[in-house]
Amino acid sequence: MNKTEYLNRLSNELGHMPYGDVKDIMQSIEEHFDEGLSEGRSEEEIAAGLGDPKELANEFKDGAKFNQIMKKRKKVDNGRDGTGRIFVVVFNIFVGVAMWLVLLAAIIAALCILGVDLGIIGVIVASIIMGKITEFIVPFIFLLLTLICVAIFLVVILILGIKYYGKGLKAYIRWNRHVWNYGLGED
């Protein structure tokens, strides 16, 4: 096999690789031939030394697969430095932090209402026991029952609220970290 034959076969075997890569590879093998020729070796000798063009092409293709994986990883790396981080900062300034603060305020407000509610219940119960309320005792008992219902309702709401606030905040922080590290839409 002479130089031209070898290069043709190699280029055929490389087949579907991007044009730029094929050109680059062909250049380096051509350079190899030229170096060998300038040392006084024959084209056939150099071609034989290079090894089977099909095998060589396969080795280049294996390397190309590796390149694609590296490129993908680079893309992820770019997301790591770019849009993902900007999104996390902007989203938190305008939406995220505000939303969690409003929810926290709602929980605190519910706690306050519960406190007031329990306070009123206490006062009414104390008043009835100490016999300070003699008139309108039936309406007061109705008021008491209503306030107790409100208190139970608030306790249930608060238990659920605090539980899911904790869970939700954890999930939210995890999501933020993911976007921060890997960017949006990469999963």
């Binding site: 380096s28 170096e35 150099i46 030394g49 290079l50 060589l56 590296m70």
Partner: protein, 111 residues
């Protein structure tokens, strides 16, 4: 020798050759093929892969005869990779040799 084992270790060999100084494809192919039983062509896919990993960089330099040569240079990250991989390989070789030599003397190496 098994071609899979050879393939894995040739990257390291090319890095070690480049540690001696910058070189070009034909020269590296010769150096490698003289020592290890591989085809001259083998070095080129390896060089391409190493360049894409960033452990070697390339530049063109005029030669006395003919067109400019593509030179390969070991980068700092390449040097780090070479040192850590070399250490790992030598350690592994030592362990394997110990097992193989013990096998040869029928397990009497300790005596």
């Amino acid at each position: 020798m098994n071609s899979q084992i050879k393939k894995g270790i040739l990257d390291l060999c090319v890095l070690a050759l480049l540690e001696q100084g910058d070189s070009y494809g034909y020269d590296l192919a010769g150096s490698l093929a003289r020592k290890v039983e591989v085809a001259d062509g083998t070095v080129y896919p390896i060089l391409r892969k190493l360049a894409s990993e960033g452990v070697v960089s390339t530049y063109l330099q005029e030669s006395q005869n003919g067109p400019p040569r593509k030179y390969y240079h070991l980068t700092d990250s390449g040097r780090r990779k070479l040192n850590s991989d070399r250490e790992e390989w030598l350690k592994f070789c030592g362990e394997v040799n110990e097992i193989l030599e013990r096998g040869e003397t029928g397990g009497k190496a300790d005596e």
